[in-house]
Subunit: 259 residues, 3 copies
């Protein structure tokens, strides 16, 4: 259905792996490398030239863009040149990812995500719809971010001093939160919906309010799951798509320790 080679444009310099499919109406600009078994669906733009292209089209050289194997890029996604992603990248629709974004493997970017570039994202992160990641953000691995979250970076707008947000592994940033510039969130934290979060939070914090405070240790809060157990730290109870799927988080950790 999607792969009829109608109105497809792929620059001659693009390197396609084995079994790559490119959807109709999609454009892939120069110096893009796409891994095996990857699907770029219809109406996408991959390797979008950076702003300097418009200033000097003749001398512009598109930076290298890397999309690895087994990725699925859904329709109306724009990925700028100069970004690099690990294997199993997954995007929703109408996504924009700007230049010099680096993301690890098994990351997903939901519909209408606006990743402003110049940021680092670890492995197995899941951003739901409408997530806005400002420049200089650093996001660890296994971080999930929910709709209408924004990671800001300018404490005295407008200014030229950008202070990115840092979110460490396994933390969950729920819907509607604004993360203020320079915020540093430790491992295994949870922010309550619609919070306005600034400052430094240690591991295992439950964070809520405007302005947000640490309410207590997340692992001690009464968030019970279907099994009537305290749900946090969550990796014990959620494994869909995670590398501990089938073996459990504890066992996976032991295997990793032996690495």
């Amino acid at each position: 259905m999607k792969f009829n080679n109608r109105n497809v444009f792929i620059d001659a310099s693009v390197v396609l792996g084995q079994n790559v499919q490119i959807g109709d109406n999609t454009t892939i600009y120069s110096n893009v490398i796409i891994g095996d078994n990857t699907i770029i669906a219809d109406n996408c733009v991959i390797g979008e030239p950076n702003n300097s292209y418009y200033r000097n089209q003749l001398e512009y050289i598109n930076p290298k863009t890397v999309i690895k194997s087994n990725s699925l890029i859904r329709s109306y996604t724009i990925i700028y040149a100069g970004s690099k992603f690990g294997e199993n990248l997954n995007t929703g629709h109408h996504v924009t990812i700007r230049e010099n974004t680096t993301a690890g493997k098994n990351c997903s970017f939901g519909s209408y995500n606006d990743i402003q570039g110049e940021c680092e994202i670890g492995d197995y992160c899941r951003l739901q719809s409408y997530v806005n990641i400002g420049q200089r953000s650093k996001i660890g691995s296994f971080v999930f971010i929910y709709p209408y979250v924004v990671l800001t970076n300018d404490a005295t707008p407008p200014s030229n001093l950008l202070q990115g947000v840092v979110i460490d592994d396994y933390s969950q940033i729920t819907a509607g939160c604004v993360l203020l510039p320079g915020t540093n969130i430790g491992k295994y934290c949870l922010t309550s919906a619609n919070s306005t979060v600034g400052g430094v939070f240690e591991d295992d914090s439950f964070i809520a309010g405007t302005p947000a405070k640490k309410i207590g240790k997340l692992s001690k809060m009464p968030f019970f799951n279907e099994e009537n157990k305290r749900h946090y730290p969550w990796p014990k109870y959620f494994e869909r798509g995670m590398p501990w799927e089938g073996i459990g988080f504890e066992q996976w950790n032991k295997l990793n320790e032996n690495d």
Copy 2:
């Protein structure tokens, strides 16, 4: 202007009613049924295949998609296969509606709406721009939802237990509200802007705050309109596009009682 048959792709299995117009650069995949006098504008994708298509393209069969008569789908809208809408469907631009969404007649979905699918929406609902409806949501009729509202569904993220939000007839969910998983809002309610709403609210509630509480009966609150009358319940004072337009809500209710 819009209907020049340039770069249009319509699968042979698509059933078009009388006087249907399809805009340039639009794709309609298999098993879509479109009612009379409907316009699908340019750059749309209708009958977008579900995720299982990518896993097994050869055996995949696209579920039936139904768009009824007198609908208007604006540009850059994506409607997944397996969704069904009543007559007079209206979408803005850059809308995404996922699979197994069921909506009644005279519904409108504003620009950048992200309807996650597996949800039920009644008649005459109006979603303004940037509304995010999570799976398992149930929305009654005559419900209006304003920008940056999200209906969430996971109380202990991430987990596998999805609890949808329920909103009953005639309720108004204003800008920036986060509706927490399992929230149940009765008829004729109003949520105040930017509230974080969880729990069960009876009919005629005015709901505000983070976390939100019932402030009082909405019909008793001092919300006055142009005629200096208490505006709620609103159907007495607003009829544009509603089935009681021209006859008034009271008279329309009487006619309905006789049905």
Copy 3:
């Protein structure tokens, strides 16, 4: 890269200035005037017909759209007919600007902006990603608006009485703020992130909370910048892209006084 004349449609009535470039897959409908050295990138729709087109296609005449010189419209932007912009217009991706929007020179509209039309915007305004401007809004010059801000206009939704928001020169509306109908924000104000702002605020207000209050004079608040100076009023310390770039705000003001 972007300008190969593939699948481009430009109505015969369109007036193109000198050295205009039109990207692939872009459509420009009738009665659009584009100034010198302007770039309309790929996959855009310019001069989108207004809703009355769908009701009577034969008699419909597209209102005049004016995009002046040195503008850059990025991909997947839709600009409705009947809007007028000054020189150096800049848009992100997936932007929607509705009819009868008037904006001055050097304005930028970030990705996923939804400008509802029937609004006035001054010079040198910068809207970041996901900004939603309701009808009847009036925005001065040098106003910056950050992600997920909505300017609403209906105090008793749904109703037919629209009361736009007014924001005066040099004010900063930070991420996640909801501006309630009829709100009037003076010059040199700052709203704190995630605030719900209603009422009238005099010049130099720092505004915060839900509901928001004036916390104090912004120029007296302890917002210090890199130079360890009070950052507000900000034009003393920020000049990138501003008309006082290189000469300083004070000197620019003096030059303007002599005009």
